[in-house]
């Protein structure tokens, strides 16, 4: 099987990127008339400046396509941060190893306690997040967390430092079924500049993570770029190409794409203003992804402000987090009634923009005539009765 890193190197992303700037509005109209983007060329046209003028029509088609495949529902999940220990230097990340933040790795009991707290809020889908550290996030720690959380959370995913396929298997066997690995930036020179030290500097190895994870048995794969590090149109084309590759080679996996934009974080990284992506461009991108990839899950986190999140509920997003803390142990300090942190969170990865509680977000979704879906996976699909009893 050809790995995406090899395929990507041969793709004319730069040419598509240039094409976005030359797209005419009649080309965009033609694609809207078809109702879908058939290839990366069509997709490039939909993310072009020319397509900005057609955003309302784009949104209408995106909404209809999303409803047909996913219905009038938004799936909800919560991230839980296990550890902010990290050996990587990523210039934009709050967990970057040189940042003077309090370093925390949660004991398993605290993870379970926080998971219970999240379950009481309604969550039945959890994303386990941690920095990359061979000493703290290793030796069966993640597997233990997965096993202990399973009776509380029927659906578990991970977002950790990449591993080799054999190292993923015990995590899958423990009952984990989702994996997220963001490339951050697909632009190789930018990647090199922003990741000067640590295992994350290996661009190709990171890019192949979803394929290694699929080989280990993960059934949900999440990819994405962190918008703000390089030109968003280039990144969008790369993500789209990556998703299309995964559709062919990892055909049993549900492919999810996240669309995170840079948020302020410890370290004070200043993104190049030229790479900033506007709200309008983000909406355009979500809709363009939908027209190219009608079946892809599109994920929106609490990085985005409430008004924008509310607006995107109907336009193509399928999955949202809510009431998130990005600090290990952060939920331990949340008031269970108001779901607000009782103290500052100096160990957070980044500061969220939508601070509403899970219930407030669920109410917002309902108010738009959509159902917030908390549970969409049952552990019995992947675990035998004996495994469940052992848990």
């Amino acid at each position: 099987m050809s790995q995406f890193s090899e395929v990507f190197a041969a793709l004319p992303i730069d040419a598509y990127h240039r094409q976005t700037l030359d797209t005419s509005s009649s080309t965009v109209e033609g694609i809207l008339h078809k109702g879908r983007a058939e290839d990366l060329r069509d997709f490039a046209a939909l993310i072009s400046p020319a397509a900005q003028g057609k955003i309302e029509e784009l949104a209408r088609i995106s909404r209809a396509r999303t409803q047909r495949h996913f219905g009038k529902v938004i799936r909800l999940f919560a991230p839980i941060y296990l550890s902010n220990e990290c050996i990587n230097v990523c210039k934009y990340c709050g967990f970057s190893r040189n940042n003077p933040i309090p370093r925390i790795t949660l004991p398993v009991e605290q993870v379970v306690a926080e998971t219970r707290k999240l379950a009481a809020q309604g969550f039945r889908s959890l994303l386990i997040v941690a920095g990359e550290h061979p000493k703290y996030v290793s030796n069966g720690y993640v597997e233990t967390v997965v096993r202990e959380c399973l009776p509380i959370m029927p659906s578990l995913g991970i977002e950790l430092g990449p591993l080799e396929t054999p190292d993923y298997r015990p995590i899958v066997d423990a009952g984990c079924e989702g994996l997220i690995a963001y490339q951050e930036t697909y632009h190789r020179p930018t990647y090199k500049e922003l990741h000067p030290a640590g295992p994350k500097k290996h661009y190709g190895w990171r890019m192949e993570t979803p394929e290694r994870a699929y080989a280990a048995g993960f059934r949900r794969l999440g990819i994405g770029a962190l918008f703000g590090l390089y030109d968003w149109r280039y990144e969008a084309l790369a993500v789209a190409a990556h998703a299309r590759h995964l559709y062919r080679h990892c055909w049993k996996a549900q492919i999810n794409i996240s669309v995170p934009r840079m948020r302020p974080a410890a370290g004070g990284f200043q993104p190049d203003p030229a790479y900033q992506m506007s709200d309008r461009e983000l909406v355009q991108l979500v809709c363009a992804f939908r027209l190219l990839l009608p079946h892809a899950g599109l994920v929106l986190s609490t990085r985005e402000p409430p008004a924008l999140r509310d607006g995107l509920v109907q336009l193509g997003i399928t999955t949202m987090s809510a009431g998130s803390s990005t600090e290990p142990g952060g939920y331990s300090h949340f008031d269970e009634t108001t779901w607000t942190p009782a103290e500052d969170q100096p160990g957070e990865q980044f500061h969220i923009a939508d601070e509403r509680s899970p219930q407030e977000v669920a109410d917002m979704i309902r108010s738009q005539g959509y159902e917030p879906v908390w549970k969409d996976f049952d552990q019995s699909l992947v675990s035998t009765q004996q495994q469940l009893e052992k848990v």
Partner: protein, 325 residues
């Protein structure tokens, strides 16, 4: 184990007068039927014994004015030939109302969405919105990637007190949700052997349909077009062969986007159809559900009466058989 209310106090085929008399005992439960309307507090967790009462007007239309023959699947008889799926709705209340409006007697629920534990889970309570006295709740195995997973989740549903019926769907491809024929056949063999009434979702493959009948499936459920596509009977010719060869009811499942699609399937001789997306994402799901119900009745009645399919009559300029005169 919770009692899922498997008893059916309303027998199939009760006369209208009897139904009206039963339901007139609950006049205040008719409540709201508008899409998205909510029920009073306290309703949601009582699904195991609570019957959903609908408007009198609806009861009369639920009767089969066209007097079609009832549908028998396994040991059960159904007056309605419309099955309804419960996913993709804007709310559970909307789903409940649309299901009621459809007049269906069989609804399918993805077990992955439900909580099958001892206690009702307010965050996974889709089953609370279904009246087990009124509908046969048909658990489905959506989410299963292979036979092993499908069998496991079917057993779990039964253990949780759901009917020992299963809509077997195994679609490892999460995009078009097309069913895996090999795994479906494997799982069907196991589940039939274990005493389940098995209704397999399949691609419109006549040989697979026969193989599934050979192993003892209660129906076959070929797709009209991919789930959620609303493209109608794109597999019409294959479905016609399946119907021609069938020894069990044929239920056309998936892709029916308009009442005319459902009517066409019934006119073709399908025994029933299953509709979900087209109802769930309609701007008025209950009305759309009724529209499908009417179309299904019309199509079935026309099939039973016998349609004149017309002829493309061509006259040869020089008759070919004059030598016989």
């Amino acid at each position: 184990m919770r009692n899922r209310g498997r008893s059916n106090s309303r027998k199939r085929g009760l006369p209208l007068a009897a139904i009206l008399s039963i339901e007139s005992q609950f006049p205040h439960h008719s409540n709201k039927s508008a899409d998205g309307a909510t029920q009073p507090p306290g309703f949601t967790n009582r699904w195991n014994r609570r019957r959903v009462i609908v408007l009198i007007k609806l009861k009369t239309t639920m009767q089969n004015p066209l007097e079609c023959t009832p549908l028998q699947i396994g040991d059960r008889v159904f007056r309605s030939r419309l099955l309804v799926g419960t996913g993709k709705f804007a709310s559970n209340e909307t789903m409940r109302d649309a299901v009621a409006a459809s007049g269906t007697e069989m609804v399918t629920v993805a077990l992955k969405r439900a909580d099958l534990g001892i206690e009702s889970d307010p965050f996974a309570d889709i089953l609370d919105y279904l009246d087990f006295d009124r509908y046969l709740v048909l658990p489905n195995t959506a989410g299963a990637l292979n036979a092993e997973e499908a069998v496991r989740i079917a057993r779990l549903g039964e253990a949780a007190g759901l009917p020992k019926w299963v809509k077997l769907e195994i679609h490892p491809d999460p995009n078009y949700l097309l069913p895996d024929p090999i795994e479906t056949l494997k799982a069907a063999e196991i589940l039939v052997r274990e005493g389940f009434t098995v209704l397999p979702y399949i691609n419109s493959d006549p040989v697979l349909a026969l193989r599934l009948q050979d192993v003892g499936c209660a129906t076959v459920m070929p797709l009209g077009s991919p789930i959620g596509s609303n493209r109608g009977l794109e597999t019409r010719a294959q479905i016609a062969i399946i119907i021609e060869q069938a020894r069990v009811p044929v239920i056309v499942d998936a892709g029916l986007g308009a009442p005319s699609h459902a009517a066409a399937a019934m006119e073709l001789g399908a025994d029933a159809v299953l509709v979900n997306t087209a109802i769930a994402i309609a701007s008025a799901p209950s009305r759309m559900a009724r529209s499908f119900a009417v179309a299904v009745e019309a199509g079935r009645a026309a099939f039973e009466i016998g349609l004149d399919h017309g002829q493309n009559k061509a006259e040869a300029t020089s008759p070919l058989t004059t030598f016989l005169d």
